[in-house]
């Protein structure tokens, strides 16, 4: 229950930050994808199921507020969360570098899916332009933001796990 509340707050905060404050400090008109960092972090730290759940709700929030097709972003985020869950099995959770690499890769896939659904389906084939215009800056910026956020999520997760162990 405690975890549920904390994750809800995390999702809301990331969403709000991404849609408000980070819009003003956008570099090259691109905002770091905080929700993606949160999803990756949860998938990496807690496994496939947690990753896909958090991803689903992150995406759903985006869908409901900005999308015109409910479920599209939910699916994208969910798939990313689920995929990152595999890293939970393979890698050590205390690693600081692996999740950043994962964020980078995930953001690339996110961009790819975003391009496919938003541009390719409308017949815009120039992926290179969209990658340099949207994809690359977003990946760089998201990676920068992830340095701090991943650490923060890691600490929060550690505290929660400790509390849960004491509870049990």
């Amino acid at each position: 229950m405690k975890r549920f509340i904390i994750i809800t707050i995390e999702i809301l905060l990331c969403f709000l930050l991404q849609t408000t404050i980070f819009q003003w400090i956008a570099l090259a008109n691109v905002v770091p994808n905080l929700l993606l960092i949160l999803t990756v972090s949860n998938g990496f730290l807690r496994g496939r199921k947690s990753g896909l759940t958090v991803g689903f709700f992150c995406g759903l929030l985006v869908d409901l507020c900005f999308g015109n097709l409910i479920g599209l972003y939910a699916f994208m985020y969910m798939a990313i969360g689920y995929a990152n869950g595999f890293a939970n099995i393979v890698f050590d959770k205390d690693d600081q570098i692996i999740p950043m690499i994962l964020v980078g890769i995930s953001d690339f896939f996110y961009f790819f899916l975003y391009y496919v659904f938003n541009f390719l389906l409308r017949g815009k084939l120039n992926i290179f332009f969209y990658f340099t215009r949207i994809g690359l800056p977003e990946i760089v910026y998201t990676l920068l933001a992830s340095i701090f956020l991943l650490k923060l999520f890691y600490i929060i997760n550690k505290h929660m796990e400790k509390a849960e162990q004491e509870e049990v």
């Binding site: 809301l12 759940t53 015109n68 409910i70 798939a79």
Partner: protein, 282 residues
Amino acid sequence: MRRRTKLNLNPKHVFIAVAILCFALMFLSYQFGDELSPIKTVVGDVISPMQKGINTVGHGLFNQFEKIASFNKLLDENTRLKEELNVLSYENKILLQDKYELDRFRDLYKLDKKYADYPKVAARVIAADPNNGFSTFQIDKGSDDGITVDMNVIAGNGLVGIVESVGKNYATIRSVIDDSSSVYGMFLKTSDTCVVRGDLEKLEKGVIGVEMIKKEADIQDGYEVVTSNISDKYLQGILIGYISNITVDSNNLSKTADLTPAVDFEHLEEVLIITEVKEKLE
């Protein structure tokens, strides 16, 4: 206990289930977009106050930050804008001048209709005699434009003067208020003739002199004086001005009066030259 059963679910199955849910949602929202919009509105209603709050707080902080960060930029912009302002105010001045000019041209146009019988050419005053005010001046039209000596010049409401000398692209005009100028005039109402003579002393009061009015002439203040038919250089019927201050000369044969010119010689910038010369008696 509940938690344990939940943990036993295979993530793969959950993934598939949620994926199906997503596609179902997509299909539903595509098919029934309008019916689903209330749900979106509800979420928006919940989220937007938070966004607004963050925006107000964050904007305040961010603005402070931005203020400091953009200080130099603002200074640069300030100098740039000042330069721009200079340029624009200069342009504005030019436009205002054009506007005044337009007003004057319109006045001239009206005048043009009043003296429609005579063919006219408009000209601009380009130089004034520096010694005695505005009594002789130059215009920017000359023999190339068909100006010849003794052509009459009018402006505003009446007579300005006469072309005294002509250059290739300029002409000198002696105005009626010049000390050496004299014009045969007549009263429009009574047809009594007179001589309008420029007088520098009287000009101090803004008037010029009218002489050699017959003693019997029944004239009053405010009568119009126009160029006379007996003048050999001036065309007939051009308004010169209005008389005032009529006195009988000491010889008891004639009257003298002051004449207020119909033209504002102080602010003369455009004139019309009547390109018709009065035919001289041979």
